[in-house]
Symmetry: C2
Subunit: 488 residues, 2 copies
């Protein structure tokens, strides 16, 4: 039988860890806070990356690659930026090891101290804007629409696989524009791209909104976000897109000659999503039997299990189905392992989240049918072999939609409007989820709410409606509701 | 006009730098020895990566991702390995910065010193074998066939863009096997995969061989290599595949129960190619007008230039050609920039190595033809518009083959058998290239030859023929010829 997974109702956090470990997604490494992304987890990340990369290219972006290291002095150039990142930096100070003259083993060679320390990039605005300085002279060089896929390091104190790790994989877009308006448009566009990816590919509904001043990216004038809701009622910031105004252009002295031959600072955006999305995917759909994957991101979409084991007649039927499915662009595997019984295989494929499982025995073949089990609802039906591949293609679509609708329903049920602080606290404790509430707009109140309830301001929704009201905490006037939640 | 490129005959090294910079491939960064890979260079690397990734998956490998950092103590576990890498390591010693209490700017926070220093991976054998220890228990867990795409850092003293940089991008395969024979087979297989990629995709002929003891990877029992010849007669080690025997299994105590329930150490291989291949690609084919790209790796295979500028009739013809070409899987662009004259565009596309350029003017359309210029030979012909897309598909194949054949011919002309040391030195100085010579098999002689001539032993070719002879340097008996060359 498959490895045992703790039930969500028993211990949600342990459930998550069990899924990550047992479904071959990731594990802790020997290096504090860093994970090993195992083959199945990496295959899912690859599918995400390929689709996002396509969407970036379709919106006019190209990829490039900038150095892993950032000179220490670069970080200090933008005041808020350094404030945000200086406390969690991995610092390279030496470039050589030597044998310990007083014993065995290796020590850092004191002669090989760097003149200026290098920071392992926590994000690349500084090194990239230092580079853009040489690439941008005139309005003809703009816009510059560049993305990079990279690893970054932030020395986090509390880590959790995929959701928050010291090293993580991500993409970071860094664009340069001639006008404020164009940069704002770009940042908003990327929020939409992220939302589309989350909803259409991950089947994970997201709220699109902007961050409060307190929650903005260090160095941004505006941060747009997509916020998802996990099954335990906590929110997950799944992607952010920043309008950086001219902050980095000023810090790195990046100017251009506009069409009127006048010098101006360049306008910037940056935007990123990371392997954190894999954590969000797990927490949105999976159940107590293991991973549940939306078909569009499942490395294997269909698995065929011979019952009780491979046999020429079964092999032939399986081969035919596989050929038909592959011609339709469906990824399918035939599990011919003779050392495992069907029940064991069923549990394993459930654990790994394969969306559709076909069981084929001799009696099925005689009856011209096949057993079809869908992972999302765990429903099993017998379907005619005739036309089975078209049936499966439709079924995969249906599963994709069902997962999305199920998650939307969960979110709807876990989004509550409250009008006073007692309700705020009660809903948060008893029901959790998003809380829509009036707030007086001050950082002080936002921090006080967080201190009292652990709920943070998730976003001011893009579809924010003006509505007169009173702040749930202070009773001061408010112009509309924003979303709060406990968050990862 | 396009930027001026130094002629190869004048200064080969400067020519290379000019191409890299002017063709938008890469540039030096603010961090010593690290380059910025610019969009055009990265697009070529992406095409290489995608094809290699496919070939790895077709041979049964899966991707995963291991930490960027390696605990210092891990490096010391394998004696030869540490010897090979300790002297060129970027060392992380602290995890936080703070404001300088004695002034402005940032300093490393002395309170945030790591208990054990972390090394930025120069290669990942150690951290991966530490991980494999938990993944491998029985012969049923083997083979383990894993690859990772990653950045690595080696603190090189002399760097050159793509060919040798402090940080570079690569893939590293790390496999684990139950028997010596299977591991050796795997390592040899990957040498073949690399050779096939180099020859069929890069159009870069390579010699397959094994390294001398002195040139082996630090920790390997055998290193297989593919060696290419650049246009200046210097060799480039383009990819290596290592049989690591049980060295890392012993260093990290990785054992398995074999089919007879007996404990054994696991057998290992590792193999890698890097962004160095981009340098090899440039140096194999390019000329004094810029980059020359084999069609299979060109981000844009065909460019259409309207002469003298876009016009409805020309646009229509161009659109039709583009549609037909795209349907055939050819990547094509229509250069409608009105600010540049055709001559300028021609030079630019030549600089960027676009394999085929079509020029279309009104007179061409009247005559039912189009001007076709191929980048490799710079030949221009008029071709009938009728059937042009099929003509171009064939032409792209022809260019791919021509580049390969031209490089093979160059290599043939620059491979010389010599039988005494005077000839060895003369050929090296006057003609350069590969030198096939008898050698007594000792590291001492190999190093002496290198000291006297700067030529190193490139490889013992896979098709090594036994032949009685005398070492060119010492006159001692030799059993056959191996290849020497000056190398990058």
């Amino acid at each position: 039988m498959a490895k045992v997974i703790t039930a969500r109702s028993e211990d949600y956090s342990k459930w998550y860890g069990d899924i990550v470990t047992n479904a071959n997604m990731a594990e802790h490494s020997a290096v504090r806070g860093c994970m090993v992304i195992k083959p199945h987890g990496f295959a899912i990340w690859e599918k995400m990356r390929d689709q996002l990369d396509k969407m970036f290219k379709d919106t006019g972006h190209v990829n490039a690659y900038f150095p892993l290291f950032i000179p220490k002095s670069f970080l200090s150039r933008e005041a808020e930026h350094v404030e945000g990142f200086a406390k969690e930096c991995a610092v390279v100070t030496h470039h050589r090891l030597m044998s310990d003259p007083n014993g065995k083993g290796l020590i850092v060679d004191p002669e090989a101290k760097l003149e200026e320390e290098l920071i392992v990039r926590p994000t690349s605005e500084t090194i990239i804007w230092d580079t853009y300085k040489n690439w941008i002279n005139s309005y003809r060089d703009l816009p510059l629409l560049i993305n990079q896929w990279a690893n970054v390091v932030r020395w986090e104190m509390r880590t959790r696989m995929f959701l928050r790790t010291t090293e993580f994989l991500w993409q970071e877009g860094h664009t340069a524009h001639a006008t404020r308006e164009e940069a704002v448009e770009e940042a908003k566009q990327m929020q939409k791209v992220y939302a589309q990816f989350a909803e259409e590919w991950m089947a994970m509904p997201v709220i699109q909104g902007s961050k409060t001043v307190n929650e903005r990216f260090a160095g941004a004038e505006e941060t747009w976000t997509i916020e998802a809701l996990m099954q335990d009622g906590k929110a997950l910031q799944a992607g952010t897109s920043h309008f950086l105004a001219q902050n980095f252009a000023k810090a790195f002295d990046v100017k251009f000659l506009n069409e009127n031959n006048k010098e101006e600072y360049v306008w910037a955006t940056s935007w990123g999503v990371s392997t954190r999305l894999v954590g969000g995917l797990i927490m949105t759909h999976s159940d107590d039997d293991g991973l549940v994957l939306p078909p569009k991101l499942a490395p294997t979409q269909v698995v065929i299990v011979p019952i009780p084991k491979p046999k020429v007649e079964i092999d032939e039927v399986a081969e035919k189905i596989m050929k038909e499915l592959r011609a339709k662009g469906v990824s399918v595997k035939y599990d011919t392992d003779k050392k495992k019984r069907p029940g064991f295989k069923f549990a394993e494929h459930e654990l790994h989240g394969v969306p559709v499982r076909l069981g084929i025995g001799m009696r099925d073949i005689e009856n011209g049918q096949v057993e079809v089990a869908r992972r999302d609802t765990k429903e099993k039906t017998s379907q005619p072999l005739e036309g089975i591949s078209s049936y499966i293609v439709d079924l995969l679509d249906d599963i994709q939609n069902n997962l999305f609708n199920r998650a939307v329903q969960f979110r709807t049920e876990h989004t509550t409007s409250v009008d006073n602080f007692d309700d705020f606290k009660n809903v948060l404790e008893e029901k959790s989820g998003f809380i829509s509430a009036h707030w007086d707009g001050s950082t002080e109140t936002e921090l006080k709410i967080k201190e009292l309830t652990k709920a943070s301001a998730r976003c001011i929704p893009n579809d924010f409606e003006e509505e007169e009201g009173k702040c749930v905490l202070t009773g001061k006037p408010s112009k509309g509701r924003i979303l709060f939640a406990k968050a990862y």
